[in-house]
Protein backbone atom coordinates (compact mmCIF):
# COMPACT_ATOMS: atom_id res chain seq x y z
CA UNK A 1 0.00 0.00 0.00
CA UNK A 2 1.44 3.26 -1.03
CA UNK A 3 -0.07 5.54 1.54
CA UNK A 4 -0.57 5.01 5.19
CA UNK A 5 -3.97 5.05 6.71
CA UNK A 6 -4.41 7.88 9.16
CA UNK A 7 -6.12 6.85 12.34
CA UNK A 8 -8.26 9.39 14.12
CA UNK A 9 -7.02 10.22 17.61
CA UNK A 10 -10.59 9.83 18.76
CA UNK A 11 -10.22 6.12 18.00
CA UNK A 12 -7.35 5.95 20.45
CA UNK A 13 -9.27 7.86 23.09
CA UNK A 14 -12.62 6.17 22.66
CA UNK A 15 -11.80 2.66 21.48
CA UNK A 16 -8.28 1.51 22.19
CA UNK A 17 -7.88 2.75 25.73
CA UNK A 18 -11.47 2.13 26.93
CA UNK A 19 -11.36 -1.40 25.57
CA UNK A 20 -8.19 -2.24 27.45
CA UNK A 21 -9.40 -0.62 30.65
CA UNK A 22 -12.69 -2.46 30.47
CA UNK A 23 -10.95 -5.77 29.93
CA UNK A 24 -8.72 -5.21 32.97
CA UNK A 25 -11.65 -4.15 35.13
CA UNK A 26 -13.70 -7.15 34.06
CA UNK A 27 -10.80 -9.45 34.85
CA UNK A 28 -10.51 -8.02 38.35
CA UNK A 29 -14.24 -8.14 38.92
CA UNK A 30 -14.35 -11.74 37.79
CA UNK A 31 -11.58 -12.61 40.19
CA UNK A 32 -13.50 -11.23 43.13
CA UNK A 33 -16.78 -12.79 42.06
CA UNK A 34 -15.21 -16.20 41.70
CA UNK A 35 -13.57 -15.71 45.08
CA UNK A 36 -16.96 -15.03 46.59
CA UNK A 37 -18.53 -18.06 44.99
CA UNK A 38 -15.72 -20.43 45.75
CA UNK A 39 -16.93 -23.05 48.15
CA UNK A 40 -14.52 -24.93 50.34
CA UNK A 41 -14.93 -28.48 49.29
CA UNK A 42 -14.88 -31.24 51.81
CA UNK A 43 -13.17 -34.11 50.09
CA UNK A 44 -14.86 -37.46 50.07
CA UNK A 45 -12.98 -39.92 52.32
CA UNK A 46 -13.41 -42.69 49.79
CA UNK A 47 -11.78 -40.71 47.02
CA UNK A 48 -8.89 -39.62 49.23
CA UNK A 49 -8.36 -43.18 50.30
CA UNK A 50 -8.41 -44.46 46.75
CA UNK A 51 -5.80 -41.92 45.76
CA UNK A 52 -3.59 -43.00 48.63
CA UNK A 53 -4.08 -46.67 47.82
CA UNK A 54 -2.94 -46.01 44.28
CA UNK A 55 0.15 -44.18 45.46
CA UNK A 56 1.04 -46.99 47.81
CA UNK A 57 0.44 -49.68 45.22
CA UNK A 58 2.59 -47.79 42.77
CA UNK A 59 5.35 -47.59 45.38
CA UNK A 60 5.05 -51.32 45.89
CA UNK A 61 5.39 -51.92 42.18
CA UNK A 62 8.37 -49.60 41.86
CA UNK A 63 10.23 -50.79 44.93
CA UNK A 64 9.18 -54.43 44.84
CA UNK A 65 12.71 -55.67 44.41
CA UNK A 66 13.88 -54.01 47.58
CA UNK A 67 11.87 -56.10 49.99
CA UNK A 68 12.04 -59.86 50.60
CA UNK A 69 9.75 -61.89 48.39
CA UNK A 70 7.69 -63.10 51.33
CA UNK A 71 6.84 -59.53 52.28
CA UNK A 72 6.12 -58.67 48.67
CA UNK A 73 3.74 -61.55 48.19
CA UNK A 74 1.88 -60.71 51.38
CA UNK A 75 1.42 -57.15 50.19
CA UNK A 76 0.35 -58.16 46.74
CA UNK A 77 -2.35 -60.37 48.15
CA UNK A 78 -3.41 -57.56 50.42
CA UNK A 79 -3.80 -55.24 47.45
CA UNK A 80 -5.21 -57.44 44.77
CA UNK A 81 -7.04 -60.45 46.16
CA UNK A 82 -10.48 -61.05 44.76
CA UNK A 83 -12.38 -60.87 48.02
CA UNK A 84 -11.42 -57.73 49.84
CA UNK A 85 -8.22 -56.52 48.24
CA UNK A 86 -7.80 -52.79 48.32
CA UNK A 87 -7.44 -52.50 44.58
CA UNK A 88 -10.22 -54.89 43.75
CA UNK A 89 -13.29 -53.10 42.50
CA UNK A 90 -16.39 -55.28 42.63
CA UNK A 91 -18.30 -55.34 39.39
CA UNK A 92 -21.36 -53.14 39.22
CA UNK A 93 -20.06 -50.96 41.99
CA UNK A 94 -17.86 -49.21 39.52
CA UNK A 95 -19.81 -46.11 38.77
CA UNK A 96 -19.15 -44.28 35.66
CA UNK A 97 -18.01 -40.76 36.08
CA UNK A 98 -20.89 -39.21 34.24
CA UNK A 99 -23.46 -40.82 36.50
CA UNK A 100 -21.48 -39.84 39.54
CA UNK A 101 -21.40 -36.27 38.39
CA UNK A 102 -25.15 -36.11 38.09
CA UNK A 103 -25.76 -37.88 41.34
CA UNK A 104 -23.63 -35.37 43.16
CA UNK A 105 -25.28 -31.98 42.97
CA UNK A 106 -22.23 -30.27 44.43
CA UNK A 107 -20.13 -31.25 41.48
CA UNK A 108 -22.61 -29.92 38.96
CA UNK A 109 -22.95 -26.77 41.02
CA UNK A 110 -19.22 -26.21 41.00
CA UNK A 111 -19.06 -26.67 37.29
CA UNK A 112 -21.80 -24.16 36.85
CA UNK A 113 -20.10 -21.63 39.04
CA UNK A 114 -16.91 -22.01 37.11
CA UNK A 115 -18.78 -21.52 33.88
CA UNK A 116 -20.68 -18.56 35.23
CA UNK A 117 -17.57 -16.68 36.13
CA UNK A 118 -15.92 -17.53 32.83
CA UNK A 119 -18.42 -17.68 30.04
CA UNK A 120 -20.92 -15.01 30.95
CA UNK A 121 -18.51 -12.07 31.15
CA UNK A 122 -16.79 -13.27 28.01
CA UNK A 123 -19.94 -13.45 25.94
CA UNK A 124 -21.10 -10.12 27.26
CA UNK A 125 -17.89 -8.31 26.46
CA UNK A 126 -17.66 -9.96 23.09
CA UNK A 127 -21.17 -8.88 22.26
CA UNK A 128 -20.39 -5.39 23.47
CA UNK A 129 -17.26 -5.14 21.37
CA UNK A 130 -19.02 -6.55 18.36
CA UNK A 131 -21.88 -4.14 18.66
CA UNK A 132 -19.98 -0.91 19.19
CA UNK A 133 -16.58 -1.39 17.64
CA UNK A 134 -17.06 -3.83 14.84
CA UNK A 135 -15.28 -3.54 11.58
CA UNK A 136 -12.75 -0.78 11.92
CA UNK A 137 -9.10 -0.39 12.49
CA UNK A 138 -8.20 0.57 16.01
CA UNK A 139 -4.41 0.61 16.12
CA UNK A 140 -1.27 0.14 14.15
CA UNK A 141 1.68 -1.83 15.35
CA UNK A 142 5.01 -0.22 14.58
CA UNK A 143 6.54 -3.07 12.60
CA UNK A 144 5.55 -4.94 9.43
CA UNK A 145 4.16 -8.46 9.56
CA UNK A 146 3.54 -11.23 7.08
CA UNK A 147 0.17 -12.12 5.60
CA UNK A 148 -0.32 -15.01 7.95
CA UNK A 149 -0.98 -12.66 10.82
CA UNK A 150 -3.94 -11.20 9.03
CA UNK A 151 -6.46 -13.58 10.60
CA UNK A 152 -5.03 -12.84 14.01
CA UNK A 153 -4.81 -9.08 13.81
CA UNK A 154 -7.58 -8.15 11.42
CA UNK A 155 -10.44 -10.22 12.60
CA UNK A 156 -13.64 -8.62 11.43
CA UNK A 157 -12.16 -6.76 8.46
CA UNK A 158 -12.31 -8.54 5.17
CA UNK A 159 -10.01 -6.35 3.15
CA UNK A 160 -6.94 -8.00 1.74
CA UNK A 161 -5.35 -4.70 0.73
CA UNK A 162 -4.99 -3.28 4.21
CA UNK A 163 -1.47 -3.61 5.58
CA UNK A 164 -1.20 -6.37 8.16
CA UNK A 165 0.26 -4.10 10.82
CA UNK A 166 -3.14 -2.51 11.38
CA UNK A 167 -5.10 -4.09 14.20
CA UNK A 168 -8.86 -4.31 14.07
CA UNK A 169 -10.86 -3.58 17.19
CA UNK A 170 -12.14 -7.10 17.55
CA UNK A 171 -8.61 -8.47 17.34
CA UNK A 172 -7.55 -5.96 19.93
CA UNK A 173 -10.22 -7.47 22.17
CA UNK A 174 -8.81 -10.96 21.65
CA UNK A 175 -5.27 -9.80 22.25
CA UNK A 176 -6.38 -8.30 25.51
CA UNK A 177 -8.36 -11.37 26.52
CA UNK A 178 -5.41 -13.68 26.25
CA UNK A 179 -2.57 -11.28 26.84
CA UNK A 180 -3.47 -9.65 30.13
CA UNK A 181 -2.37 -12.53 32.33
CA UNK A 182 0.93 -10.90 33.20
CA UNK A 183 -0.87 -7.76 34.27
CA UNK A 184 -3.33 -9.73 36.40
CA UNK A 185 -0.57 -11.58 38.14
CA UNK A 186 0.94 -8.20 38.97
CA UNK A 187 -2.30 -6.78 40.28
CA UNK A 188 -3.81 -9.81 41.99
CA UNK A 189 -0.71 -11.70 43.06
CA UNK A 190 1.09 -14.62 41.46
CA UNK A 191 -1.35 -17.50 41.69
CA UNK A 192 -4.49 -15.47 41.46
CA UNK A 193 -4.19 -14.52 37.85
CA UNK A 194 -7.32 -15.63 36.05
CA UNK A 195 -5.99 -17.72 33.29
CA UNK A 196 -8.54 -18.38 30.63
CA UNK A 197 -6.42 -20.56 28.44
CA UNK A 198 -5.52 -22.85 31.28
CA UNK A 199 -9.07 -23.09 32.46
CA UNK A 200 -10.23 -24.05 29.03
CA UNK A 201 -7.77 -26.89 29.10
CA UNK A 202 -9.07 -28.03 32.46
CA UNK A 203 -12.56 -28.22 31.08
CA UNK A 204 -11.37 -30.76 28.56
CA UNK A 205 -9.76 -32.96 31.17
CA UNK A 206 -12.90 -33.38 33.18
CA UNK A 207 -14.18 -36.77 34.18
CA UNK A 208 -11.53 -38.69 36.11
CA UNK A 209 -12.58 -42.16 37.09
CA UNK A 210 -10.80 -43.54 40.17
CA UNK A 211 -12.13 -47.06 39.87
CA UNK A 212 -10.60 -47.39 36.43
CA UNK A 213 -7.16 -46.44 37.68
CA UNK A 214 -7.58 -48.84 40.59
CA UNK A 215 -8.21 -51.65 38.13
CA UNK A 216 -5.28 -50.63 35.97
CA UNK A 217 -3.02 -50.55 39.01
CA UNK A 218 -4.21 -54.00 40.03
CA UNK A 219 -3.47 -55.43 36.61
CA UNK A 220 0.02 -54.03 36.53
CA UNK A 221 0.67 -55.21 40.08
CA UNK A 222 -0.44 -58.71 39.13
CA UNK A 223 2.16 -59.05 36.45
CA UNK A 224 5.11 -57.78 38.48
CA UNK A 225 7.87 -60.34 38.59
CA UNK A 226 9.51 -60.20 41.96
CA UNK A 227 13.26 -60.47 41.85
CA UNK A 228 14.89 -59.61 45.13
CA UNK A 229 17.62 -57.06 44.49
CA UNK A 230 19.35 -57.43 47.82
CA UNK A 231 21.65 -60.42 47.08
CA UNK A 232 23.23 -58.26 44.40
CA UNK A 233 23.88 -55.61 46.97
CA UNK A 234 26.21 -57.86 48.89
CA UNK A 235 28.57 -58.00 45.96
CA UNK A 236 28.25 -54.32 45.38
CA UNK A 237 28.99 -53.62 49.03
CA UNK A 238 32.04 -55.82 48.70
CA UNK A 239 33.42 -53.80 45.84
CA UNK A 240 32.68 -50.60 47.71
CA UNK A 241 34.55 -51.82 50.75
CA UNK A 242 37.41 -53.14 48.66
CA UNK A 243 37.86 -49.71 47.18
CA UNK A 244 37.64 -48.19 50.61
CA UNK A 245 40.13 -50.47 52.30
CA UNK A 246 42.73 -50.58 49.59
Amino acid sequence: MAEDLVLDTAIRDWVLIPLSVVMVLIGILRYFVSKLMRSSQIPDPKIVKEGQVIVRARNLRAGANFIPSKSFRARRVYFSNEENGLLHVPKGQAQNAQAQMFSDPNMAMDMMKKNLSMIIPQTLTFAWVNFFFSGFVAAKIPFPLTQRFRSMLQNGIDLSTVDVSYVSSRSWYFLNLFGLRGLFSLILGEENATDDTQRMMQMGGFGFDPSKSLGAEKDSLDIVQHEWALPKFEQRAETVLKNLVS
Binding site: R56, N59, F66, L230, E234, R236, E238, V245
Partner: protein
Protein backbone atom coordinates in the same frame (compact mmCIF):
# COMPACT_ATOMS: atom_id res chain seq x y z
CA UNK B 1 14.13 -32.12 51.82
CA UNK B 2 16.50 -29.20 52.21
CA UNK B 3 19.14 -29.03 49.56
CA UNK B 4 22.65 -27.91 50.17
CA UNK B 5 22.34 -24.54 48.43
CA UNK B 6 19.15 -23.80 50.32
CA UNK B 7 20.84 -24.61 53.58
CA UNK B 8 23.84 -22.41 52.93
CA UNK B 9 21.48 -19.61 51.94
CA UNK B 10 19.54 -20.14 55.15
CA UNK B 11 22.67 -20.11 57.27
CA UNK B 12 23.95 -17.02 55.53
CA UNK B 13 20.69 -15.20 56.19
CA UNK B 14 20.61 -16.39 59.79
CA UNK B 15 24.10 -15.12 60.35
CA UNK B 16 23.23 -11.80 58.79
CA UNK B 17 20.09 -11.41 60.88
CA UNK B 18 21.84 -12.46 64.06
CA UNK B 19 24.44 -9.80 63.57
CA UNK B 20 21.86 -7.11 63.06
CA UNK B 21 22.21 -6.98 59.29
CA UNK B 22 18.49 -6.90 58.55
CA UNK B 23 16.60 -9.30 56.33
CA UNK B 24 14.69 -10.87 59.19
CA UNK B 25 11.52 -11.19 57.14
CA UNK B 26 13.34 -12.94 54.30
CA UNK B 27 14.88 -15.29 56.85
CA UNK B 28 11.49 -16.12 58.35
CA UNK B 29 9.99 -16.71 54.91
CA UNK B 30 12.80 -19.06 54.03
CA UNK B 31 12.43 -20.95 57.29
CA UNK B 32 8.74 -21.38 56.59
CA UNK B 33 9.32 -22.43 53.02
CA UNK B 34 11.92 -25.03 53.90
CA UNK B 35 9.95 -26.18 56.96
CA UNK B 36 13.04 -26.27 59.14
CA UNK B 37 12.80 -26.13 62.89
CA UNK B 38 14.73 -23.17 64.26
CA UNK B 39 12.17 -22.07 66.76
CA UNK B 40 14.40 -19.95 68.99
CA UNK B 41 15.56 -17.81 66.09
CA UNK B 42 12.09 -17.55 64.61
CA UNK B 43 10.73 -16.49 67.96
CA UNK B 44 13.41 -13.87 68.49
CA UNK B 45 13.34 -12.29 65.04
CA UNK B 46 9.62 -12.73 64.52
CA UNK B 47 8.85 -10.99 67.78
CA UNK B 48 11.20 -8.15 66.90
CA UNK B 49 9.12 -7.55 63.78
CA UNK B 50 5.79 -7.94 65.54
CA UNK B 51 6.75 -5.56 68.33
CA UNK B 52 7.71 -2.84 65.88
CA UNK B 53 4.49 -1.25 64.61
CA UNK B 54 6.16 0.24 61.57
CA UNK B 55 7.66 -2.99 60.31
CA UNK B 56 4.53 -4.88 61.22
CA UNK B 57 2.27 -2.67 59.15
CA UNK B 58 4.72 -2.80 56.27
CA UNK B 59 3.97 -6.51 55.92
CA UNK B 60 0.34 -5.98 55.07
CA UNK B 61 -1.77 -9.14 55.18
CA UNK B 62 1.34 -11.28 55.50
CA UNK B 63 1.45 -10.29 59.14
CA UNK B 64 -1.13 -12.94 60.04
CA UNK B 65 0.98 -15.80 58.79
CA UNK B 66 3.85 -14.29 60.75
CA UNK B 67 1.69 -14.36 63.87
CA UNK B 68 0.99 -18.02 63.23
CA UNK B 69 4.63 -18.81 62.67
CA UNK B 70 5.71 -17.00 65.81
CA UNK B 71 2.97 -18.65 67.85
CA UNK B 72 4.11 -22.11 66.77
CA UNK B 73 7.73 -21.26 67.46
CA UNK B 74 6.83 -19.83 70.87
CA UNK B 75 5.04 -23.02 71.82
CA UNK B 76 8.07 -24.99 70.72
CA UNK B 77 10.22 -22.84 73.02
CA UNK B 78 7.64 -23.05 75.79
CA UNK B 79 7.00 -19.29 75.81
CA UNK B 80 3.36 -19.95 76.34
CA UNK B 81 2.33 -16.39 77.14
CA UNK B 82 3.81 -15.14 73.87
CA UNK B 83 1.98 -17.87 72.00
CA UNK B 84 -1.20 -16.99 73.83
CA UNK B 85 -0.90 -13.35 72.81
CA UNK B 86 -0.29 -14.23 69.17
CA UNK B 87 -3.21 -16.61 69.07
CA UNK B 88 -5.44 -14.05 70.74
CA UNK B 89 -4.64 -11.55 68.00
CA UNK B 90 -5.37 -14.15 65.34
CA UNK B 91 -8.56 -15.16 67.06
CA UNK B 92 -9.75 -11.59 67.03
CA UNK B 93 -9.04 -11.28 63.33
CA UNK B 94 -10.38 -14.67 62.23
CA UNK B 95 -12.99 -15.69 64.79
CA UNK B 96 -14.32 -18.70 62.88
CA UNK B 97 -11.07 -19.99 61.46
CA UNK B 98 -10.20 -23.66 61.79
CA UNK B 99 -6.55 -22.87 61.35
CA UNK B 100 -6.66 -20.72 64.47
CA UNK B 101 -8.67 -23.44 66.20
CA UNK B 102 -5.86 -25.83 65.47
CA UNK B 103 -3.36 -23.43 67.00
CA UNK B 104 -5.50 -23.16 70.11
CA UNK B 105 -5.55 -26.92 70.36
CA UNK B 106 -1.78 -27.03 70.14
CA UNK B 107 -1.58 -24.36 72.83
CA UNK B 108 -3.75 -26.49 75.10
CA UNK B 109 -1.43 -29.37 74.37
CA UNK B 110 1.60 -27.26 75.21
CA UNK B 111 -0.01 -26.37 78.52
CA UNK B 112 -0.49 -30.04 79.21
CA UNK B 113 -4.28 -30.01 79.39
CA UNK B 114 -4.65 -33.11 77.30
CA UNK B 115 -8.35 -33.70 77.73
CA UNK B 116 -9.26 -30.20 76.60
CA UNK B 117 -6.93 -30.38 73.62
CA UNK B 118 -8.43 -33.70 72.66
CA UNK B 119 -11.89 -32.18 72.89
CA UNK B 120 -10.86 -29.24 70.71
CA UNK B 121 -9.44 -31.55 68.06
CA UNK B 122 -12.49 -33.77 68.07
CA UNK B 123 -14.79 -30.85 67.48
CA UNK B 124 -12.55 -29.60 64.68
CA UNK B 125 -12.49 -33.04 63.13
CA UNK B 126 -16.25 -33.11 63.01
CA UNK B 127 -16.18 -30.24 60.54
CA UNK B 128 -13.34 -31.58 58.52
CA UNK B 129 -12.78 -35.29 59.11
CA UNK B 130 -9.93 -35.48 56.63
CA UNK B 131 -7.49 -32.98 58.08
CA UNK B 132 -4.24 -34.92 58.39
CA UNK B 133 -2.70 -32.45 60.82
CA UNK B 134 -5.50 -32.94 63.34
CA UNK B 135 -5.14 -36.71 63.19
CA UNK B 136 -1.42 -36.38 63.77
CA UNK B 137 -1.96 -34.07 66.71
CA UNK B 138 -4.09 -36.73 68.33
CA UNK B 139 -1.26 -39.21 67.96
CA UNK B 140 1.05 -36.63 69.49
CA UNK B 141 -1.27 -36.22 72.48
CA UNK B 142 -1.32 -39.94 73.11
CA UNK B 143 2.44 -40.12 72.75
CA UNK B 144 3.04 -37.16 75.05
CA UNK B 145 1.01 -38.83 77.72
CA UNK B 146 3.10 -41.96 77.39
CA UNK B 147 0.08 -43.82 76.08
CA UNK B 148 1.85 -45.76 73.35
CA UNK B 149 -0.88 -48.31 72.62
CA UNK B 150 -3.23 -45.38 72.17
CA UNK B 151 -0.80 -43.68 69.82
CA UNK B 152 -0.53 -46.89 67.81
CA UNK B 153 -4.28 -47.12 67.60
CA UNK B 154 -4.63 -43.54 66.34
CA UNK B 155 -1.80 -43.97 63.89
CA UNK B 156 -3.33 -47.12 62.49
CA UNK B 157 -6.61 -45.35 62.04
CA UNK B 158 -4.83 -42.51 60.31
CA UNK B 159 -2.85 -44.82 58.06
CA UNK B 160 -5.97 -46.65 57.01
CA UNK B 161 -6.91 -43.55 55.04
CA UNK B 162 -3.58 -41.83 54.43
CA UNK B 163 -1.59 -44.93 53.68
CA UNK B 164 0.95 -43.20 51.49
CA UNK B 165 2.19 -40.92 54.28
CA UNK B 166 5.65 -42.24 54.96
CA UNK B 167 6.31 -39.97 57.91
CA UNK B 168 3.43 -41.63 59.71
CA UNK B 169 4.81 -45.05 58.87
CA UNK B 170 8.14 -43.99 60.28
CA UNK B 171 6.57 -42.75 63.48
CA UNK B 172 4.67 -46.01 63.81
CA UNK B 173 7.84 -48.00 63.21
CA UNK B 174 9.68 -46.10 65.92
CA UNK B 175 6.87 -46.58 68.40
CA UNK B 176 6.79 -50.31 67.67
CA UNK B 177 10.54 -50.55 68.17
CA UNK B 178 10.28 -48.74 71.49
CA UNK B 179 7.64 -51.24 72.56
CA UNK B 180 9.79 -54.13 71.30
CA UNK B 181 7.14 -55.19 68.80
CA UNK B 182 9.71 -55.97 66.18
CA UNK B 183 7.59 -57.90 63.70
CA UNK B 184 5.23 -54.98 63.33
CA UNK B 185 8.16 -52.59 63.14
CA UNK B 186 9.70 -54.69 60.38
CA UNK B 187 6.50 -54.32 58.37
CA UNK B 188 6.59 -50.56 58.78
CA UNK B 189 10.20 -50.37 57.69
CA UNK B 190 9.42 -52.47 54.63
CA UNK B 191 6.76 -49.94 53.82
CA UNK B 192 9.30 -47.14 54.21
CA UNK B 193 11.81 -48.87 51.98
CA UNK B 194 9.10 -49.27 49.37
CA UNK B 195 8.23 -45.62 49.41
CA UNK B 196 11.83 -44.40 49.36
CA UNK B 197 14.10 -47.23 48.24
CA UNK B 198 17.25 -45.13 48.17
CA UNK B 199 17.26 -43.83 51.73
CA UNK B 200 19.97 -45.83 53.49
CA UNK B 201 18.61 -45.07 56.96
CA UNK B 202 15.52 -47.17 56.33
CA UNK B 203 17.61 -50.08 55.12
CA UNK B 204 19.75 -49.75 58.23
CA UNK B 205 16.78 -49.60 60.59
CA UNK B 206 15.14 -52.56 58.86
CA UNK B 207 18.35 -54.54 59.20
CA UNK B 208 18.54 -53.64 62.89
CA UNK B 209 15.03 -54.88 63.47
CA UNK B 210 15.68 -58.11 61.61
CA UNK B 211 18.90 -58.71 63.51
CA UNK B 212 17.08 -58.15 66.77
CA UNK B 213 14.37 -60.61 65.75
CA UNK B 214 17.06 -63.25 65.28
CA UNK B 215 16.77 -66.61 63.59
CA UNK B 216 18.87 -67.74 60.67
CA UNK B 217 16.65 -66.40 57.92
CA UNK B 218 16.30 -63.01 59.52
CA UNK B 219 20.01 -62.76 60.22
CA UNK B 220 20.89 -63.48 56.62
CA UNK B 221 18.34 -60.97 55.41
CA UNK B 222 19.61 -58.42 57.91
CA UNK B 223 23.11 -58.89 56.57
CA UNK B 224 21.88 -58.18 53.06
CA UNK B 225 20.27 -54.98 54.20
CA UNK B 226 23.40 -53.92 56.05
CA UNK B 227 25.21 -54.57 52.79
CA UNK B 228 22.78 -52.41 50.87
CA UNK B 229 23.24 -49.66 53.46
CA UNK B 230 26.98 -49.86 52.89
CA UNK B 231 26.44 -49.66 49.18
CA UNK B 232 24.12 -46.69 49.45
CA UNK B 233 26.36 -44.77 51.85
CA UNK B 234 29.60 -45.67 50.14
CA UNK B 235 30.82 -47.57 53.19
CA UNK B 236 30.72 -44.53 55.46
CA UNK B 237 28.15 -45.89 57.87
CA UNK B 238 29.96 -47.39 60.86
CA UNK B 239 26.84 -48.97 62.25
CA UNK B 240 26.26 -50.92 59.06
CA UNK B 241 29.85 -52.16 59.13
CA UNK B 242 29.42 -53.40 62.68
CA UNK B 243 26.11 -54.91 61.66
CA UNK B 244 27.79 -56.99 58.98
CA UNK B 245 30.30 -58.30 61.50
CA UNK B 246 27.66 -59.11 64.10
CA UNK B 247 25.37 -60.80 61.58
CA UNK B 248 28.20 -62.89 60.21
CA UNK B 249 29.33 -64.09 63.59
CA UNK B 250 25.75 -64.81 64.67
CA UNK B 251 25.03 -66.83 61.53
CA UNK B 252 28.34 -68.64 61.92
CA UNK B 253 27.31 -69.67 65.41
CA UNK B 254 23.92 -70.86 64.25
CA UNK B 255 25.30 -72.87 61.37
CA UNK B 256 28.25 -74.25 63.30
CA UNK B 257 28.96 -77.82 62.36
CA UNK B 258 26.51 -77.67 59.49
CA UNK B 259 27.28 -76.88 55.89
CA UNK B 260 30.19 -74.63 55.09
CA UNK B 261 29.17 -71.09 54.41
CA UNK B 262 29.88 -69.74 50.99
CA UNK B 263 33.14 -67.98 50.59
CA UNK B 264 31.76 -64.68 49.36
CA UNK B 265 29.96 -63.64 52.48
CA UNK B 266 33.09 -64.39 54.48
CA UNK B 267 34.90 -61.93 52.26
CA UNK B 268 32.35 -59.29 53.05
CA UNK B 269 32.77 -59.75 56.76
CA UNK B 270 36.55 -59.47 56.61
CA UNK B 271 36.27 -56.44 54.41
CA UNK B 272 33.86 -54.84 56.87
CA UNK B 273 36.29 -55.54 59.69
CA UNK B 274 39.14 -54.05 57.72
CA UNK B 275 37.10 -50.98 56.85
CA UNK B 276 36.25 -50.52 60.51
CA UNK B 277 39.89 -50.80 61.51
CA UNK B 278 40.92 -48.29 58.90
CA UNK B 279 38.19 -45.95 60.00
CA UNK B 280 39.20 -46.18 63.65
CA UNK B 281 42.84 -45.71 62.79
CA UNK B 282 41.98 -42.45 61.11
CA UNK B 283 39.44 -41.05 63.51
CA UNK B 284 40.08 -42.54 66.95
CA UNK B 285 43.45 -44.31 67.18
CA UNK B 286 43.19 -44.68 70.95
CA UNK B 287 40.07 -46.86 70.62
CA UNK B 288 41.70 -49.19 68.11
CA UNK B 289 42.63 -51.78 70.71
CA UNK B 290 39.01 -51.95 71.89
CA UNK B 291 37.88 -52.49 68.35
CA UNK B 292 40.35 -55.22 67.59
CA UNK B 293 39.52 -57.11 70.75
CA UNK B 294 35.83 -56.81 69.91
CA UNK B 295 36.44 -58.08 66.40
CA UNK B 296 38.55 -60.89 67.78
CA UNK B 297 35.74 -61.97 70.05
CA UNK B 298 33.56 -62.12 66.94
CA UNK B 299 36.28 -64.24 65.31
CA UNK B 300 36.66 -61.88 62.42
CA UNK B 301 40.11 -60.41 62.38
Amino acid sequence: MVTKTEETELNRLENQVDNGGGGAWEYLCLVKKLKVRRSDKVLKHGLSILNDPKRRSALGPEVWTLYEQVATAAMDCHCLDVAQDCIKVLQKKFPESKRVGRLEGILLEAKGSWAEAEKAYSSLLEDNPLDPVLHKRRVAIAKAQGNFPGAIEWLNKYLEIFMADHDAWRELAEIYVSLQMYKQAAFCYEELILSQPTVPLYHLAYADVLYTLGGLDNLQTAKKYYASTIDLTGGKNTKALFGICLCSSATAQLTKGRNKEDKESLDLQYLAGAALEKNYKQRAPDKLSVLSSALKSLKIS
